[in-house]
Symmetry: C2
Subunit: 139 residues, 2 copies
């Protein structure tokens, strides 16, 4: 089984899952960690709780909030576990593609690379798109 | 004055502001629209409420959840108003840079292009970073 985990400082992770499910419908096997929100839950134990759910043959694709941040760094330390794939930079086009394709694309590296490439192409300054459209109309 | 607005289907917008403020501290002049959450608030009126707060000389940098989505499309229709700048693809490295630099960089186009470029570079598959580090150590 291939699981997804969104992990962030604060409520970005649970916020983006809410948005994904509004667009794509209720998702199974997608988890979130919103770190440092509940003082009684430390990040180490939140991560352990997730890892302990994985079977030997399972895969976990973690999407963290920001490269170099403390949440991402915690997962960097776990990459010796080959079940774990870590992407930094949670955003909606990326996670919609991961959610939509995770049961169709069997090659995990290809799934991740394609989702990363497509999402980066869709992050853009839209005013320039309008100017390009206007220029096209002139010819 | 230069204002920021995060806008999304569902709770991504308010979730990411929570995360930004956890990292950078409380922010003034940053607004959110979490569309379709409260049935009594339609998106048109939420947007109008924001636009009506702007003065003639103000600027609004909108960061929407996803290019081609209905929230982004609503703002695309407003780009005749030259006070409005629209970026698609909310993510934490992007908005942290916008929040941090918005009162220092006077050229809005340069602010947006720099933030976009830096954020795209930080969205990555971290397992490959580890492999690169390991390769470096071999030489």
């Amino acid at each position: 089984m291939r699981y997804l985990l969104f992990a962030s400082h604060g409520k970005l992770a649970e916020g983006i899952l809410h948005s994904v499910e509004m667009i794509t419908g209720k998702q199974e096997n997608v988890w979130t960690i919103s770190a440092y929100v509940d003082e009684e839950k430390d990040l180490h134990s939140q991560i352990s709780d997730v890892i302990n759910k994985l079977g030997k043959e399972d895969e976990l694709i973690v999407v963290s909030d920001i490269f170099g941040g403390s949440v991402n760094n915690e997962f960097m330390n776990l990459l010796g576990d080959k079940r774990i794939h870590l992407i930094a930079g949670l955003n909606l086009p990326l996670v919609i593609e991961l959610v939509s394709m995770r049961n169709m694309e069997t090659d995990t590296l290809r799934l991740i690379k394609t989702a990363l490439s497509n999402s980066k192409n869709s992050i853009k300054y839209c005013n320039l798109e309008i100017e390009i459209d206007t220029e096209d109309e002139e010819f």
